[in-house]
């Protein structure tokens, strides 16, 4: 009896492997099937739209379905909480008045979100009215890939004027401005970022944890490097080289790709040289962002001096709710850092061919320009919002004080940073270039390659990723 049971188990395990092998392809096919069918269950509408003839006077909304493409639940929860007419039906459906809202959410892992959105937008013209993309969300790293095409609609065609958007930070508009100067998206977030430092360590090494004095110690890169040397002497690490990368890469003097050729900017090269020196001096690590080793610095035992990041980073990524973290004890401080930069944020774009233009316009206006809504978002969801007035208000009273920063009110620094961010040198290739550059340089930092070999590796990876770009 026992023997039979064991052999039965053996058979079961072996058959299981057979199915395990087919597993991945099966799930993949059901995934695509479900995303196709999400919007087909609605009734069909025969009207088609043309927005071309009306610049400000929008045609009446004929669509019965509003398709929104995103990669996580963030915008959905913002819309649920702050857009008065929205009612949730279930996890992927909602209603605004008579219009059904359909959420097409694909995670961005392995580029899945963009692949899915690409297919949807390329099929936009031939898609039935209920399947057409109405709104889609983009991140700054690849915004231009969509914005610099006709698939995204200029906001002025929706009747949104510059005056409506005057209170937004300029950099948030630079990111979604196409090569002809048309603004094609808007964000409710202004993710200016700075240096988040460990107060305990700052007191020990610099003798102070005051944000202004720490700022003085990291005011530019040469001061930052001096401080890093002191940090290393005290047995700490400054941060990871990948933490500082965005600070350098946001402050370049030219685009990644110029005339179809990859160009490595001076400031990027400075990152390579500075980082190599700091890694060799044991002052910075080469840990990948979000990895376990990198995350160790969130606790005092991790011996990390700081992280670079924006408001969402210190609010959500420092594990303030966990016992024993620095954030839990209110042990972080925030200053602007060596150079101003931004990190993250979600932009809302209207898809060309939408049959709900009025609704789309209203959503964009309400979510990104309505000051009451924005203040509500800032206070309820701890987003750093895209409104100069609201940030000023938050900086001026105590409601902006944060426990995890030891009671510091970071809004003054956040607003100052957001003013200074300059993003005139974005290109549609940024995401790939930044990722591949960091990966390739890790070899150089860890001593597995010379600088030239690592640069060759980067060029090779870029040509693979973007066959239309040359690297020599």
């Amino acid at each position: 009896m026992k023997k039979r049971l064991v052999s039965l188990l053996a058979i079961a395990t072996m058959t299981a492997t057979m199915f395990a092998a087919c597993g991945s392809s099966e799930t993949a096919s059901t995934d695509t099937a479900s995303s196709d069918s999400t919007s087909t269950e609605e009734t069909t509408a025969t009207e088609t739209t043309d927005t071309a003839d009306a610049a400000v006077e929008l045609p009446e909304d004929t669509g019965k379905v509003l398709n929104i493409y995103g990669w996580n639940e963030e915008f959905k929860s913002r819309l649920t909480d702050h857009y008065a007419d929205y009612t949730e039906v279930d996890a992927t459906h909602g209603k605004i008045g008579d219009v059904d809202v359909v959420w097409n959410i694909t995670p961005s892992t392995d580029n899945a979100y963009q692949n899915n959105l690409d297919e949807a937008l390329l099929a936009q013209e031939s898609a039935s009215a209920d399947d057409k993309v109405d709104l889609f969300l983009v991140e700054a790293d690849y915004a231009l890939k969509y914005v610099d095409t006709d698939y995204a609609m200029p906001l002025k065609d929706l009747g949104i004027t510059d005056a409506d958007l005057a209170d937004q930070y300029k950099y948030t508009q630079d990111i979604v401005t196409d090569s002809n100067g048309n603004l094609k998206g808007a964000s409710w977030q202004a993710c200016s970022a700075g240096f988040i430092y460990n107060r305990e360590a700052a007191k020990e090494i610099l003798g102070t944890d005051d944000p202004d004095e720490v700022q003085a110690a990291v005011a530019d890169w040469s001061k930052y490097n001096e401080t890093a040397a002191k940090v290393a002497d005290a047995g700490y690490k400054m941060c990871s080289v990948n933490d500082t990368y965005r600070v350098y890469s946001n402050n370049v003097s030219g685009k990644w790709v110029q005339d179809g050729k990859v160009v490595i900017d001076k400031n990027i090269e400075k990152w390579v040289d500075d980082s190599k020196e700091l890694v060799d001096a044991n002052a910075e690590t080469t840990d990948d962002l979000w990895g376990d080793d990198w995350a160790k610095g969130k606790r005092p035992e991790g011996k990390i001096f700081g992280y670079f990041g924006p408001a969402w980073f210190f609010n959500f990524c420092l594990d303030a709710d966990q016992e024993g973290t620095i954030a839990n004890k209110g042990g972080w401080g925030y200053c602007v850092g060596p150079q101003s930069y931004y990190w993250g944020g979600t932009w809302i774009c209207a898809a060309t061919g939408t049959d709900n233009a009025n609704l789309v316009k209203d959503i964009i206006l309400t979510m990104t320009t309505d000051k009451a809504v924005l203040k509500d978002i800032a206070q309820k969801d701890a987003d750093c919002v895209n409104s100069k007035t609201v940030l000023k208000e938050l900086a001026s009273d105590d409601s902006g004080n944060l426990d995890l920063l030891g009671g510091q009110n970071p809004y003054a620094q956040l607003a100052e940073g957001a003013e200074k961010v300059d993003l005139s040198n974005l290109s549609a290739y940024d995401q790939g270039c930044n990722e591949e550059f960091q990966k390739a340089m890790k070899n150089y930092f860890q001593g597995n390659a010379t600088k030239d070999e690592a640069l060759d590796m980067f060029k090779k990876a870029i040509v693979e990723k973007y066959p239309d770009v040359t690297a020599e």
């Binding site: 053996a10 395990a20 597993g23 390329l122 095409t149 376990d292 990966k439 990723k465």
Partner: protein, 312 residues
């Protein structure tokens, strides 16, 4: 005259009464043929077809397909990456396959040896097969965490005094390749053991008995009887493992986060192929696949020739 005619008539009458079974043979083949044509032959032909075109996507702009002849093949040959990644793949395969086949032979010989009277055989057979049930990506993820700079292996080694500070397993070509080989070996030795056991149990027991009567030692029996008679199964195991090895992807991909670092020393051919799919570069990817098809064919033939040549 008449008898001949009669005989002919009888023959014809007989023939019509015979029940023909061969049409059933063809009917039973249909499901296989349909699946083969739809999922194997058509993709194979379209891969070759695609390899002659420039066809990729830059952002949202589709470029091509434009006929470029053998341009894609030329690109792959001239940039010199193919031999490098083939070498990486083969190194990692051999590193994993040698311990795997030795372990499997040993276990197979023990399990099939009646004089050892091993207890709980089925249990052990199940256990050694278990690693194969874990998804390769989950297994790679597990190793990635175990061997991280601050992972449990490092803290154990530091506490034992082997290292002073964390050893970066993921930034040395040797350790990354070693880890990939170890994982492949662990995942597949159970499968190989079961295949070899089946082969060993198919050998006529009277041969073993005769050898024992003649006074052969266990070693002699293994080398002179088991191994030579196991050759067909060994060839099968080697060829399937070689093809599987050339298609190595998930373990190194997950372990190195798709980079094949350090300096792409653990990048396999399929990982390289995967790089071209970011831009949906079907032309180059197609040409690369054709090369791999040829390489796999040649290597399989070589293995087959080598292992079968002495027999005749």
């Amino acid at each position: 005259m008449r008898p001949v005619l009669k005989a002919k008539g009888a023959f014809m009458a007989k023939k019509s009464k015979v029940v023909r079974y061969n049409k059933w043979g063809y009917i039973f083949l249909i499901p296989f043929l349909v699946v083969f044509i739809v999922f194997q032959l058509i993709p194979l032909v379209s891969t070759v077809y695609n390899s002659f075109f420039e066809n990729y996507r830059s952002g949202l702009t589709q470029i091509g397909p434009n006929f470029v002849g053998l341009e894609n093949y030329k690109t792959i040959i001239t940039n010199g990456d193919l031999p490098l990644y083939l070498k990486n793949t083969m190194i990692m395969w051999i590193l994993g396959f040698i311990p795997q086949i030795l372990l499997s032979l040993l276990l197979g010989a023990w399990f099939t040896d009646p004089s050892l009277r091993l207890k709980c055989q089925t249990f052990f057979k199940t256990v050694i097969y278990m690693p194969n049930l874990i998804m390769a990506s989950a297994f790679a993820m597990l190793f990635f965490t175990l061997f991280a700079d601050g992972g449990p292996i490092n803290s154990m080694l530091i506490q034992a005094g082997v290292f002073k500070e964390a050893f970066k397993f993921m930034s040395h070509a040797g350790t990354v390749r070693g880890l990939v080989a170890t994982m492949n070996c662990l995942m597949w030795f159970g499968n190989t053991t079961i295949l070899l056991m089946a082969g060993m149990m198919g050998i006529d027991p009277s041969l073993f008995e005769a050898a024992q009567v003649d006074g052969a030692t266990a070693n002699q029996i293994f080398y002179k009887i088991t191994l030579p008679l196991l050759r067909p199964i060994l060839v099968y195991v080697m060829i399937t493992s070689l093809i599987g090895g050339l298609q190595m992807f998930d373990v190194p991909q997950i372990l190195t986060n798709g980079t094949g670092d350090p300096m792409r020393s653990s990048m396999t051919l399929i990982m390289y192929l995967n790089k071209h799919l970011f831009s949906k570069n079907f032309g180059l990817a197609g040409a690369l696949s054709v090369y791999m098809f040829i390489i796999t064919g040649i290597l399989s033939l070589l293995v087959y020739k080598f292992t079968n040549s002495e027999k005749k």
